[in-house]
Symmetry: C2
């Protein structure tokens, strides 16, 4: 059981607390939020990251917009809530869980407006409860995914993962790391290979930290070592998260996931994606249509106080890539394990 | 024409000067050497790196062992020279050019001993001349490789390279970057994609710096972005160097090379290796027999003053990997371009 809490909601003080993931693992700093604009900034600046976690944070951000309102005009309150959804929507472009959570909050607001509820406190309470439901459901989803995924893990497995799809990327427990946690609980994990995941180093900083926290045997490598360890026969299973899944099963995930999938295929290693149903974008047919965030070149030019790229060099910094469905062995969701053909398996989910 | 000089020999003062590659690109620091033990330390600590460059540096290191000797006993001088070869041999294990250059210096020493030359000055001069010959021949080899390789480059090529097989990795001009320099001179290069090459960042620090110095259009990416840009159809050609080539055509090169080769194969992109004949180890049948250096875990745990890995995490840090011959489209040497079947093409080289 993971005790890592990246997102905490204080129901008494109506305050959102985020574990600042830009400071991990060297500092365990918690930041408090009562303003949706600051929550949007926290998402943009990666204080909170990981597709399910930013969905949860955005839901609380929307609730905070309602709670911040001290007047008694329900129309004005609704306007504030919808405005905050706009601000939060533009924080990051690729993970669909963000839009899914904001749409769910928006639909509730629409329904409260349609019911012409005049008591602002009731509206505030309803939005807070909805955000808490999103959070609680995400945690339950992660546990379900963990258990479904663990069944796919062979005994004495040496498992490679990329980026951080862990407790830190979710309400807790994790998607890909949820599978690893459940498999570890079942005594099946002999080693976790952790890709460092340049440029932001979510693997080296966050996944490695989670593994150390929980005593799961793990070894950190640079991203470009994954091929060599697969060629040496040292990887039995790959599991990663996803930021958006297209209707055909194409997967958007952290940059470098595609390379891992290609290498896994060459070495006949199962390549598993663990993600809640909220990660599926039923409106997007294939990965080609998923918008890919490009981030600040400074992330590639160095890290922290170190800059190593020379002045005058061009830099390209896409934050995600697309892994085609044909390279994906299975998609683990909280509703069960999807296998090819994905278009049908995914369509069945929406039914 | 490259004006970058990683290795300089001062014939008047009998001093070796190395451009400190651990400080690039932020500082251009030159260090002077008159002692073979310090040259061995410079190789181990990556002040000078790149298979051909460490061969040249080791040759000058051997000459310095002779020059340092101020007595007049030719047997004692020979002992010093052979001792220095032992010290230099153990500086790094993977690149064969090091052993090739030290063997060439050793054979000359053996021949001078056999001739019973009593004048120590003559022995010193002969060893200095041999080291200079190795250096001059490497520069000529790089130019020849550059021209052979440029013929393989398509018009308007977008070329990806990994690590630094540049002027800095050789006596000058470079192997893989020699091909790029010649192709650029011929107007064929529209973009060079530079893999940053974790953990030591030879791409981000050294290749990027060489490209900026020479005004060759180049874009820096993290290693895990290579797959995404290939999938996007933005790479036409891959060229890398090598630290050792087995008799069957398997290639040892900087960690991550294998992943690039697998991705290039998936996308039907030519994967070219540029290396002088001194990189071929005719005594090793396949890549499985090439010793792979493992370096300090601290290289993976952070960079410079930044440490980002949590305490308590295991780290694996192999410096090289093996790319099987079947993934190599061609090997460019100073004697011409080798194509499959490599066992025959390589055997013909030794004839």
């Amino acid at each position: 059981m993971s005790t890592i809490q990246p997102i905490k909601w204080d129901s008494k003080n109506k305050t959102l607390t985020l574990l600042d993931q830009t400071k991990l693992p060297l500092e365990e700093t918690y930041r408090e939020y009562t303003d949706p604009v600051e929550v949007a900034a926290a998402i943009r600046d990666l204080v909170v990251r990981g597709a399910p976690a930013i969905g949860c944070a955005a839901a609380f951000g929307t609730a905070l917009a309602a709670i911040q309102y001290t007047g008694n005009d329900p129309n004005e309150l609704a306007t504030r809530v919808h405005e905050s959804r706009g601000t939060l929507t533009s924080s990051r472009p690729t993970a669909v869980n963000l839009f899914w959570a904001l749409e769910r909050m928006g639909k509730l607001m629409d329904s409260l407006e349609a019911q012409k509820i005049q008591d602002c406190k009731k509206v505030q309470d309803a939005l807070e409860k909805e955000a808490l439901d999103i959070f609680t459901q995400d945690l339950a989803s992660c546990r379900a995914m963990g258990d479904f995924g663990a069944d796919l893990v062979p005994e004495n497995a040496r498992i490679l993962t990329h980026c951080n799809a862990g407790a830190l990327a979710t309400a807790g427990y994790g998607t890909a790391l949820g599978v690893i946690r459940s498999a570890h609980r079942d005594g099946k994990v002999s080693m976790v290979w952790v890709d460092e995941t340049r440029p932001v180093l979510q693997g080296a900083r966050l996944t490695a930290w989670e593994m150390v926290q929980e005593g799961i045997p793990a070894t950190l490598i640079t991203d470009n070592m994954a091929g060599a360890i697969m060629a040496a026969g040292k990887v039995d299973f790959v599991v990663v998260g996803s930021d958006r899944i297209a209707a055909n099963g194409d997967i958007a995930n952290k940059i470098g996931t595609y390379s891992v999938a290609v290498l896994a295929r060459r070495h006949n290693i199962p390549f598993i994606v663990a993600a809640p149903v909220s990660t599926v974008d039923f409106n997007i047919f294939s990965g080609e249509d998923i918008p890919i965030e490009e981030r600040d070149p400074a992330e590639v030019a160095g890290y922290g106080s170190e800059r190593w790229a020379p002045e005058g060099i061009n830099i390209y910094n896409p934050a995600f890539d697309i892994t085609p469905a044909e390279l994906v062995t299975a998609i683990v969701t909280e509703k069960g394990v999807l296998t090819p053909p994905y278009p049908q398996a995914i369509a069945d989910l929406s039914g």
